[in-house]
């Protein structure tokens, strides 16, 4: 009886987690569509050290989302460089473009991490509403901490998704056990 209930609730929890993941992804896509016109700019000015009059002034280096059909894909982000063409030094320009490319790469990685973290928090926050306070704070809190560490370490989204499903499954199983024991204790007192 207990085992059956545990398995049933865990399965419901796992289905719920998958559904929430899909839903939060759709929400994220909608948010990104709304923010397509919003560019994130990293302002930077470059000054030629030897001769300031020959300086190539970079007015801005930044990344922005393209108006593509799949805006949720961080790979669709592009890099924009604005500069005043007052310097013929191509090596200097190449260096700036390389720097900009590195910034874009760092931005993509960070955007992916933030996106995964946001979705994880959202799914587990919804799930935590049905858990007892102790399970929520202790067990789900530990799972969340572990998942955040994995995201920071750059682990793949598939692994993170599996960890979320595991978190939902085990917290569901733990909740059943916890509640049965609490009921058993109160009955034995009576």
């Amino acid at each position: 009886m207990y085992d059956m209930l545990t398995v049933m609730l865990s399965l419901i929890g796992a289905v719920f987690a998958v559904w929430q993941l899909k839903r939060s992804r759709n929400d994220f896509v909608a948010q990104r569509k709304a923010a397509e016109k919003l560019s994130i700019w990293i302002h930077k000015s470059d000054v030629h050290l030897q001769d300031p009059s020959q300086a190539l002034s970079v007015t801005s280096i930044g990344t922005a989302t393209t108006p593509s059909s799949t805006p949720a894909d961080p790979k669709s982000n592009v890099i924009f460089i604005g500069y005043q063409q007052s310097h013929p030094d191509s090596d200097h320009q190449l260096g700036l473009f390389q720097e900009a490319a590195e910034l874009a790469k760092a931005y993509r990685v960070e955007a992916q991490r933030l996106q995964t973290k946001h979705r994880t928090d959202k799914v587990l926050q919804v799930w935590s509403a049905v858990l007892p306070a102790r399970i929520n704070n202790e067990v789900l809190g530990d799972y969340l901490e572990d998942i955040h560490q994995r995201i920071a370490a750059g682990q793949s989204r598939r692994i993170i998704s599996l960890r979320i499903v595991a978190a939902v499954f085990w917290t569901a199983a733990d909740t059943i056990g916890y509640l049965f024991k609490a009921i058993g204790r109160s009955k034995s007192r009576n």
């Binding site: 202790e138 809190g141 530990d142 969340l144 901490e145 572990d146 733990d174």
Partner: protein, 108 residues
């Protein structure tokens, strides 16, 4: 290269030994056991928390909550530490296991 075989051990026993080194919370204790045994003993996260609660009900450990932490979505950590009875139980357990392992080697 030495081949390390996975060891099977009762979660409660492993946690009791892990707590001898000092207090800790679930995730930290799992990591402590893994590090100390070079990965030969891996405690499953799903079974650690019920085991810790059982140890607490048996009076072998006691727990308290830390302040809420942002990396846990504002949830506190629950730290466990051995009680005097828990320390005695851990020592007795260690002596028993040591005795078991010595038995085989002395007979050689």
């Amino acid at each position: 290269m030495v081949h390390m075989m996975k060891l099977f051990i009762d979660h409660k026993a492993a946690l009791l030994q892990a707590l001898v080194a000092g207090e800790g919370y679930g995730l930290e204790l799992i990591d402590r056991v893994k590090q100390q045994t070079n990965g030969a003993i891996m405690l499953g996260q799903g079974r650690v928390y019920p085991a810790l609660r059982e140890l607490e009900q048996e009076g072998l450990v006691k727990s308290y909550e830390s302040d809420p932490l942002p990396e846990r979505g504002g949830r506190p950590r629950r730290y466990y530490k051995l009680t005097a009875e828990g320390r005695r139980a851990a020592t007795a357990q260690r002596n028993a296991v040591n005795g078991l392992f010595q038995l085989g080697w002395e007979a050689r």
